[in-house]
């Protein structure tokens, strides 16, 4: 019973996800057409927005995906990201760091937060949920310190606005660096410039996808997520993997935060607020199991597209913001239901399978 590659692909989860994405686009196109009199969804402008808003939740999704495959979760990545963004802005604005030094230090600090998460989970045996939620709060508190302007009278700031061109290398606006890396693509007869950060994001998905599927480390991530006890007995060190992945998740959060700052030229305590949610939804929609051991980066990427296309769709049909929020929650519920349903049927089978 050999099936060819195409047949195999049509039976894969990836295929289902792609169909889902296409369906979503079709539905919103028609819906927006009915509601607005003309198609406001499947347009050049909307595509630009989708792409421009993908990077921040995208990086969070990368970190979250790896952790979730290993059977863990990190709810603090977005707060760590906001901190990193704020830190980068403050160090440039108040202490005159060069942009790359600012980014580097921000990421190192992010990594340290992640490492601390790992200590809480591995050494103090906190539930990852609790540990990272507490961490999230701690980080938000520390953010106020960082944002203080040493020379101002009322030092605590919720935003730091940067001088343009300070972070332009990372940014979304067409600058020299972008012209060098930004590719020009034709779409509906117009030219769209792809910002550098999107290239970084795609690179991250590809690299992490390869790590997961092709490297020894990736295999161990799956083993630990699938059955930590069995993994330990075949010589894998689940602790080590957990340390690496918590640190990684925080660094990914840091990158997302720095990109946010470079795009908005702002360090903001409100940054990345909704993005953790989107990142996790994307990962789960993409088939990454809450229980660990299953899923891949390809799925997570399509999951990301689905969530972004969804948000854009809500804009296109002119939905009120609370409706959008409610429906985003619904999307997460759908993702969780898919995950639980498949987990339940498989564990049920595992329990009974003799």
């Amino acid at each position: 019973m050999k099936e060819n590659r195409f047949e195999k692909f049509t039976k894969s989860k990836m295929f289902t996800l792609l169909i889902l994405l296409v369906l979503e686009v079709v539905v919103f196109t028609i819906w927006s057409g009915i509601k607005q009199g003309s198609n406001t969804y499947f347009t050049f402008k909307a595509l630009t927005t989708v792409i421009n808003t993908m990077t921040v939740p995208g990086f969070l999704a990368v970190g979250a995906s790896f952790l979730m495959i290993s059977g863990n979760i990190d709810l603090s990545a977005s707060s760590i990201g906001a901190f990193a963004g704020m830190f980068a802005a403050a160090s440039i604005q108040y202490y005159h760091f060069t942009w790359w030094a600012a980014i580097l230090v921000a990421l190192v600090i992010s990594g340290a937060f992640g490492f601390f998460n790992a200590i809480l989970v591995n050494e103090f045996r906190f539930q990852p949920f609790i540990a990272t939620m507490a961490m999230s709060s701690v980080v938000k508190g520390l953010m106020s310190f960082v944002s203080m302007d040493p020379k101002a009278a009322a030092p605590v700031a919720t935003t730091i606005t940067l001088n343009p061109n300070m972070l332009d290398w990372f940014g979304a606006s067409p600058t020299d660096a972008l012209n060098f890396l930004g590719k020009k693509v034709f779409f509906q007869g117009q030219v769209i410039e792809i910002p550098f950060n999107i290239i970084l994001l795609i690179l991250a998905f590809v690299i992490y996808g390869v790590i997961l599927k092709k490297t020894k480390f990736g295999m161990k991530v799956y083993l630990v997520g699938g059955n930590p006890m069995a993994a330990r007995l075949v010589g894998v060190n689940p602790k080590k993997i957990s340390y690496i992945l918590f640190t990684n998740s925080a660094i990914m959060g840091g990158i997302a935060g720095v990109i946010f700052t470079s795009k908005t030229l702002q360090g903001s305590s409100q940054a990345l607020m909704a993005d953790m949610f989107t990142g996790l939804t994307a990962a789960m929609l993409g088939g990454i199991s809450f229980g660990g051991g299953a899923g891949g980066m390809g799925g997570a990427f399509i999951g990301l597209l689905i969530t972004r296309a969804f948000n854009q769709g809500m804009l296109a049909i002119n939905a009120k913001s609370f409706v959008t929020t409610a429906f985003s929650g619904l999307l997460l519920i759908v993702a969780l239901t898919i995950d639980f349903a498949s987990a339940r049927s498989t564990t049920a089978r595992a329990l009974k399978g003799v």
Binding site: K214, Y222, G226, N227, A230, A231, T346, L351, V354
Partner: protein
Amino acid sequence: MEQYLEFSGIGKAFPGVRALDDISFRASSGSVLALIGENGAGKSTLLKIMSGDLQPDQGKMILNGEEVTFSSPLDAMKKGISVIYQERQLIPSLSVAENIFPGALPRNKFGLLDKKKLREDTKKIIDRFGLSINPDVPVGTLSVAHQQMVEIMKAYRRHSDVIAFDEPTAPLTDTEIDILFRFIKTLKDDGKIVLYVSHRLAEIFQITDEIVVMKDGKFVQTVRTAETNEQEIVKAMVGRDIGDTYASLSRNDKFGDVLLDVKNLSSPYVDNVSFQLHRGEIIGFAGLVGAGRSEVMRAIFGADPVLAGEFSFDGQPADFKSPKDAIDAGIALCPEDRKEQGLLLFRSIKDNVSAPVVDKLSSSIFRNPKLEEEIAQSAIDKFSIKTPNSEKICLELSGGNQQKVILGRWTSPLVDTKLLILDEPTKGIDVGTKQEIYQMVCDLAKQGYGVIFISSELTEVIGVSDTIIVMHNGHVTGRTTRDENPTEESILAMAMLD
């Protein structure tokens, strides 16, 4: 009127496998019917169809003259069929009584749970089976055997007409098996239809009245147990004579120097254990379930902390902080619980076999798919694992074949082992393959491996080991060697010592 369950032309296919092909036979009330066949023959699949867990592709089931179909296990249960699997399906935190009466808890006149009545009703059932279990304790605190009894009582309480067992004795000790058999006898006397799946032929001859043999998903024959013998049955099952299992083993008779020297080892679960294992020697560990045999091995393997005492391995004092250290030093451990500690159920055979050697298969950071495929294929060939290819996820293998994957994992040529610890290695393995495993163990000994063989089947421990160590309650309570011609009785006596 005699009651019966009839299978008529049952067929079931999975991708790449024809699990059942035109199965027809009848099971009657007041008799116990054995279902036997090699690993992957389709026994469990048939039971899953019976329990409504799977739907047949072809054929039908007839219960007392009426065709029945089951949409789900609950549906099958309502229609009088209970299947008891090896893995418990009880809720550990609930009491025995609550587990026996799920969904049927007695209410008092205020609509609240009638605890008194619940306890009394449960007590009645427990007494019917002659047990001494407290109805109020959480099921999770009971022994594996008693948990199984609770499941049987649950089926009994439902007034099931048909009760099927899938390899029920694997986790039980000999005394517990006696209790189980008494249970089965009670069910039989009450006029139930009982189906019994097991790879242990001795049991089959002890308690069944009729035997149905299956091979590769097909029905081979039905015979009355009283009119046949082990040889005939094995031949029908395997397709060839296998002779006397233990006498035909070609053993190693030259031991080398001491490979493992354990002195007064204590861990959280065992106390003051000492023994020596030589290269080329097979030491069997006997004892009741819970005697602490697996726990000794876990301590040696670096999986549990060593609290006191010491051991040396391969001439070096050993202090393994984690299983990885032990593996690197040359110890392999096939754990007893294949689902909890052994397999990665959702990964392929290939991933499972190559898991411990993934670092050795390539020198870069990348995996080596070609070598992985090679060692997976060699494990599949060596243990005749029944699968279309090495990509199949282990969840979809039959129980015995899952066990073979673990054996294949630790005997692959790339695992650089000096000491192989096998904890219940033949759990769920069919007779033909069992013999191959015994021979493989002897061959490894000949090559100079040290082997530790833990089993709750005494005949097996006696038949395979050069030295036997008996444990009870975390202590070593006896030892004997092949030259002393140990018997099941003599070992059992040592296993009961304190």
